[in-house]
């Protein structure tokens, strides 16, 4: 046991008491942090889950339109039609902090004007035009989803760490310190009694000799 290694002295007792105090304070702070993180995480995760489902079904329908276009005019035509894109999508990124976790903010930057299609209208079926425009609008949602998922992943990582710390404090550090304090206190009391008894004995002896 750990308590066998500590000296039962007053200095040690005082040290243990201060450590217990800061451990309790730290535990409370971390627990509060974890609670708040759970609260924020829950809303974010629910949103992300819902978005993921929406996005996946939408994306599949868009892929279907592309496949349809491909079936009408053939893959090569489609690929050459799309080879030189005229639209461009870019993102702007920044970071913010949620409960001390650095998370990304991603803004999709679409050009102000909706760009034209990269091919002559006659060279591709209208399904393709539709699909491209739909996808162009859709990509913003997709990126938003990516951002939410990333935030969830980062938060989850931090929450796991925090939970581990809270548990380490609650179930190991604090009980151990309490044990040590009790042990030292008992030892000190014992010493005190021993000293008292010794004094009484000595006094008895002296009285007998007199």
């Amino acid at each position: 046991m750990a308590q066998n290694q500590i000296n039962p002295t007053r200095i040690e007792l005082r040290k243990c008491k201060t450590r217990l105090k800061s451990a309790t304070a730290g535990h409370k702070l971390l627990k509060d942090k974890l609670d708040e993180m759970v609260r924020q995480f829950l809303t974010l995760a629910r949103k992300a889950q819902q978005m993921r489902q929406e996005v996946e079904s939408e994306l599949l329908s868009i892929f279907k339109s592309f496949a349809l276009a491909r079936a009408i005019v053939g893959s090569q035509e489609i690929e050459s039609a799309l080879y030189m894109p005229t639209m461009s999508v870019a993102v702007q990124t920044a970071t913010k902090s949620i409960m001390g976790v650095t998370v990304p903010i991603i803004k999709t930057k679409l050009p102000e004007q909706k760009a034209s299609l990269p091919y002559a209208l006659a060279s591709a079926p209208p399904e393709l035009d539709q699909a491209i425009f739909k996808f162009y609008d859709f990509v913003q949602k997709l990126i938003k989803l990516g951002e939410s998922e990333k935030i969830c992943a980062l938060l989850a990582e931090e929450m796991e760490k925090t939970r581990r710390r809270v548990n380490a404090l609650e179930y190991i550090m604090i009980p151990e310190l309490k044990n040590s304090i009790q042990y030292i206190q008992m030892k000190l009391d014992e010493n005190e009694r021993a000293a008292l008894v010794r004094l009484m004995k000595v006094k008895e002896k002296l009285e007998k000799e007199d």
Partner: protein, 106 residues
Amino acid sequence: MTFESGKIGAIGDKDSILAFKAIGVEVFVVDTPIEADEVLKTIRKKQYSVVFLTEELASAMTNTLQKLKTNTFPTIILIPSASGAGNGFAQENLKKDIEKALGTGL
């Protein structure tokens, strides 16, 4: 807040990322997870902030993704591949995160 502009890339099989090509995203056509891994490595150095990756490939390269997970950038967005429905890898991932965060599922 200062925004920096970032690039978008897409990695996947030809059919899945055709749509991304159409709207001007830089695409990298790969057929195997090993190739995708290579591309992802080179991409990391070039400051892409958003990378689209098909679930099909992603499920075979969990090691690399795990490493990237804790970085703020790049953000890897998993998409189902065009060939049929997605394999649910992204949803599984999200579920795992939730379990990790809360110690239990939602």
